[in-house]
Amino acid sequence: MSLLSSSLHGFAAAFSLLVSAPMVAAAAEKAPVPAAAPQPSPVEVLKQIDARMSFQSDYRGTVRLRELRKDGTEHLMELEVYRRDSSRDLLIYVTKPRHLAGGGYLRIGRNLWEYEASTGQWQRTTQRGNIVNTVSCEEDFDRSQLAENYDVKDEGVEVVNGTSFRKLHLTVKSGRLVSFEQLRLWVDPSFNIVKRIGYAPSGRVLRSDVIRSYQAIKDPLAAKVVYPYKEVLEVEESTGSQFTVRYDDVVLGALSPNMFTKTWLEGRVR
């Protein structure tokens, strides 16, 4: 149990992105918006990002997260992620490191469960708070809800090497539970988030992410191409640790109806 949930934080952000992020318009990538074209409003940008991150098919992928700490030590975690947005179900199954393998994390309905493979124990937590003692929040694993969760302010455009990046400052709406009370996003002309900084309520930087690449995948149910993350570099400010999060073997397609159950996860451990 702990694994999953545990692992989650670092991944958390990466995950949130990951799990939710699909579809950044590839076409736009290939054909940047002309500088003179009217810019969409900041809210419209968020809606575009959210819309692209929603897919209708079930999701399966392998997440590999490598942490490099300042002292040079390395950690690796590998997770199988299964997600069904239509019912908001989520299952994460740890396959590495060895001592955590077989554990997992299951969100079903309004329950969050963590599974400890070595003892077969389940721990139930709630959706209303953080995942037990980590900074990971359920929203980290949910579909992108930027427009629903945040108020947004335009901070202009930054041009780097001829590419214009839209800069937005997001502040959480009252009553919304999120990992970062403030966010700053840099969005490319194709509505890809290319950089993201998460702040504490005080304004202190908590984490900086650079989205290095996306992957274009066809969503069979929606019959369109979506763009989940492929590789994200995440820098945690307090520790200086850097995470490389890679989303491999992503497949969109129907999962077994019995996938999101305790019995399925328990069945992974002999």
Partner: protein, 688 residues
Amino acid sequence: MALVSFAFHGVLARPRSWVVGLLAAGSAALLTLGVALVGGISDGTRRSLIESGTGDLQLYNATSTGTPVVVQDSGGAPELQPIPDFANVEARVRAVDGVREVVPLEVGGAWVFRGNYLDEKLSSVRAVAREPASPAREARLALLGADLERTLRDVVRDDGRRAEAFAFLKEDEAREDRLALEAVAEPAFWERFRAEPLETLEYLENRVARQVGEGASIDVEFLASDLALFPRAFPRFELVSGSLPPPGQRGLMLGQGLYEQHFKLPVAALLDTLHRERSRGATFAQDESLRTVAERCLVELPDLLARLDAERSQAVAQALGTLLGHPGEVEPLLREFLTLDDANFDARYQQFQDVLAPHLPLYRVRPGDTLVLMSPNGSLGVTGVPVRVWGTFRFKGLGGDLSRVNSLGLLDLVTARFLANRRTQAEDEEVRKDVEALGLAQPMAPTDLALQPAAIIEAPEPGGEGPPGAAPPVFARHEAFPEHFTPEAMRGGGVLQAALVLEPGADAGAVAERIDALAKETGAPLATVDWSEAGGLLAGVVGITQVVLLALAALMSLFVVMVSGSTLLLLARERVGEVGTLRAVGMQRREVFAVLLCEGLLLGVLGAGLGVGLGVALLRLVAGQGLPVRDESLQVFMGGNVLMPQLSATAGVVVVAVVGAVVVAASLVPAWRGSAVLPIEAMRKRED
């Protein structure tokens, strides 16, 4: 000598000056008592800490950024580097003159998560439901199912709880929860349970269990050590229940305080609290907090009822029927029994312990059960390590269940290493190999994350609508955290600190110097701190008492200076004629000054000596057998339940010297002014 004689006669001739002596005596007596009490606290705290884990010295890696503590403060465990080649270091240090034991240690914190009572009940049903089919499994499942049905009937009936559970929900969520409860109340649901237990359990776990409340986390601050060596090295250790883990087996011992406070049935723990408070004189009639605790007993009733299977429930109902004088259902009987007031509490408490407790599952965890300890794993979240509870312990004479030292856990070093995520070399190599194989071995990126367009990578076509990806791997349960370990694994996994227990009479400072010499000789990065540093906050209390004593002494000195000074000044004015005569017969001013100062010295020293004697007599009279310490939370500072004041001869001499010096200081101005009288002035004054 003549001066002293003059002074002596001067003092004798002026009884009013004795006020100064009496003041000095009083101050000295108070200081003597204070010094003795502080000495007793210092010695008591020292013994408590040395005998319960700090040892006389703590050995650690000198290259660490922190220093070892055994009692953590709010900052958590210090950052320590493992002692290199600890097995070798241990052998060498053990050979150092004066060292009796070298006890490897680690301090840390973890927590245990506990679900609500329905979570726990469903979990045990699930465990049985997952067993291979057999007549025994079917029989147990039938029993557990009947028990579960009864518990859930109570949940459905509990309108108050339901209202509370629905209060924060959105309308659709509340409706969903109501429907779930209604479904559970139908006989058809339990028919389905018998046919498809796992499927119906998922329903109960996901739709019903959360409605009876949240779970909770219990913090477990622990000392990790060689569990065979620890009890031998620290005489305060006392096994209360269960046994120590066999050598080579991982395990957790719970401090009795931790066990009583956090693992006991909530109703029983609340009754203990009421009993404790009433023993201190609190009453239901006058103390609202007591009434609140009593009300909580009733709030916790569903939890208690849910933990009673049919057999226990029947036994409890029968016992309550006898106690209350009428038969009935277990729930109303318990409610009546737990409706407490000043008139019935003592009898009810005793009846609970004697009659009801044997029928109740009094503790949620028992020796032999497994707990999952969880600890932070850096940015990767949390690591959960299962460990078997072998028993409970306490440190003798260091307070009862409310004492902090008895609220610790005692853990083996291997489990502590798992919790701290300190990997072995083989594990490090495995990670490195995996990272390289996956192409993730990149150096640290620059901190200024420059903007650059994200790349778009075309993912391969999934190949139709089929089930995505390869089948997930299956793991063997035993691979996670092995329950057994070798002696090499225990000491070879990176020991962070070690307590050194010295031979009786050995000087800790001298041993520390020998270890420094050993470190120089071998090149090993070894350093030590003594108990007062390793004792952290608890040892800090000694310093606080010393500061308080010093502050009081300073205030008292100020008082003595002011009162003595004004008294002596008054006396000096009355002695103008006498001083003038002395000056007229040839005595120099400095000699007069010396006589007057000498009078102050005599008054101070004699008074202080008298005061110290008085203080010692009082100590013998009042605290000859020690002062009983009833407050359990203070016992760790007193070295047990009796405080033995400590007063050395040196301390007595210091008190006399300090008080004498203060009085002499107070005499300076009066002596100076008194000696300034000219003979002619004295004679004029006498003529007037």
